[in-house]
């Protein structure tokens, strides 16, 4: 494909994907009282206001906790599963695959409602724990799929060679396989983090007294106060995420692997 054409394609795609983001940043800078583009004068007041809304602080902490630890838990379960599904000839492998993939296709509202009615209420587990379990289950399919995809393209005979050279299976995994699927694992982490962090429908029913995830809190805030502070908050969150991706890039050499 000629270079010019690819440049045009990329420019158009990026405009479509990033344009609304730019508009959100600018709308958050508005000096007026409503979400508008072009903004109604410039001011930082909405960006500053974000930090004064108390409930945002608690819900941000909860969402961050769920996204990081839910995803790590999902990887802890998902990487071994993906490895087993790719490297072992298991009877019923397809069943395992379908079970693990199930959360992705069940509408979130039903998940939230089901967990509230048949897990939280009868067993009395805390809402926070239910949220943690739900988010782990939701992220698990991404972890398994993305890591599987990486493993699929990594030839098994490299590990065989390592084993022949005296490694145990476990050593071979950590010395040969893991470094080669690092990008996949990282991609799975980022995908999982984002999925969890922005998840709305599941968390809708799984919010207890004083326990609410950030997006639910934003929706609730927006239902009442239609000012640009939600735009400002979104922009700040996006900047935070960009910082994470950049850090991943810098310390792990993300782009060399993706």
């Amino acid at each position: 494909m000629p270079t010019l054409a690819s440049r045009v394609v990329l420019a158009l795609v990026l405009t479509f994907l990033i344009g609304p983001f730019v508009i959100i940043i600018l709308a958050g800078l508005s000096a007026g009282n409503s979400l508008a583009f072009p903004p109604d004068g410039l001011s930082l007041k909405w960006y500053l206001k974000v930090f004064t809304v108390e409930s945002f602080q608690a819900s941000f902490a909860l969402s961050m906790f769920l996204a990081v630890f839910g995803t790590l838990a999902a990887l802890a379960l998902g990487v071994p599963a993906a490895y087993a599904l790719n490297r072992y000839d298991l009877p019923g492998a397809e069943t395992v695959r379908i079970i693990v993939a199930a959360p992705i296709i069940v509408p979130g509202i039903i998940v939230g409602l089901a967990l509230l009615r048949y897990l939280v209420v009868p067993t009395g587990v805390g809402v926070t724990l239910a949220l943690f379990l739900a988010h782990t289950a939701l992220v698990l399919p991404y972890a398994v799929r993305v890591v599987s995809s990486s493993l699929h393209n990594l030839r098994a005979d490299m590990e065989e060679a390592a084993v022949l050279l005296g490694c145990t299976r476990l050593q071979a995994f950590f010395k040969v396989v893991l470094p080669n699927i690092r990008a996949g694992v990282l991609a799975a982490f980022i995908l999982g983090f984002v999925t969890s962090f922005n998840q709305v429908p599941v968390s809708l029913f799984l919010s207890g007294p004083g326990v609410r995830t950030l997006p639910i809190d934003m929706l609730a805030y927006m239902e009442i106060t239609y000012d640009p502070s939600v735009a400002a908050l979104s922009a700040l969150l996006a900047f935070l995420s960009v910082a994470i991706v950049f850090a991943a890039e810098k310390f792990l050499g993300f782009s060399r692997y993706v």
Partner: protein
Amino acid sequence: MFENRTTGFALALPAAIFTAALFMVPVGILLSEAFRADGQWSLSGYVEFFSEPLNRTVFWRTLKLGVLVAATSAVIGYGAAFAITNLDGRRRGQVFGLVVLPLMISPVARTYAWIVILGRTGIVNDAIVGLGLSETPVRLLFTETAVFLGLLQLFLPLMIISLVSAMENMPRDAIPAARVLGANWLQVFTRVILPLTREGLVMGGTLVFTGSLTAYITPAILGGSKVLMLETLLYQRVNVANDFVSASVIAMILIVMSFSANLLLKRIATARR
């Protein structure tokens, strides 16, 4: 393939048991309500659902938008993924970061951005009127077009990511080799790129299609009750009527649609082998 099945199971089963116990059981109980009527097993929930003309309209609209969004994102996704993989390392990381970026932004805020963009006084209408395509602003909000654009923007990055990682894993010389052997770009695409990236296409397609089916915020805000989709209809049933049977029926339909799409895509992908 390794022989030791015990190890294999020990690695695979924790994930499966976790999901089965904490996810499938509660959801399964809830879904079973969709097969019950008057204390007996019954399919009457489904018969009733499809006998409503509104529900049929919503069903077809959801399927149509899901397919359109998935197909459009595949077409755009291949172009973008190919362009990205051809960039040099540094640039590639930057562009990839920009593609991932929208995923970081709360769908709530991204959807609201479209209200500003597509509104009567928004930039799209300014352009339409400015270019003389229409004398008065066109009503774009609360139409299928708005929902389509919102969903496409929401899920296109997932397709691009899937395709990029698939293309990354293609042997580097496959395309030049095919070109040297005289294949044109169409042949390169159908005979080399497509077969070698089908995993990514299946994954991306499934993610985009199921994402579109189960998205709530985008159809709710950009479509409203004039452009209902199955997910917003489901929410309405729970929200307005506390009608968990209809909600379970719709959930079941969504699940069947997603499963079928997944199987169908896999079938198509393997058929090309």
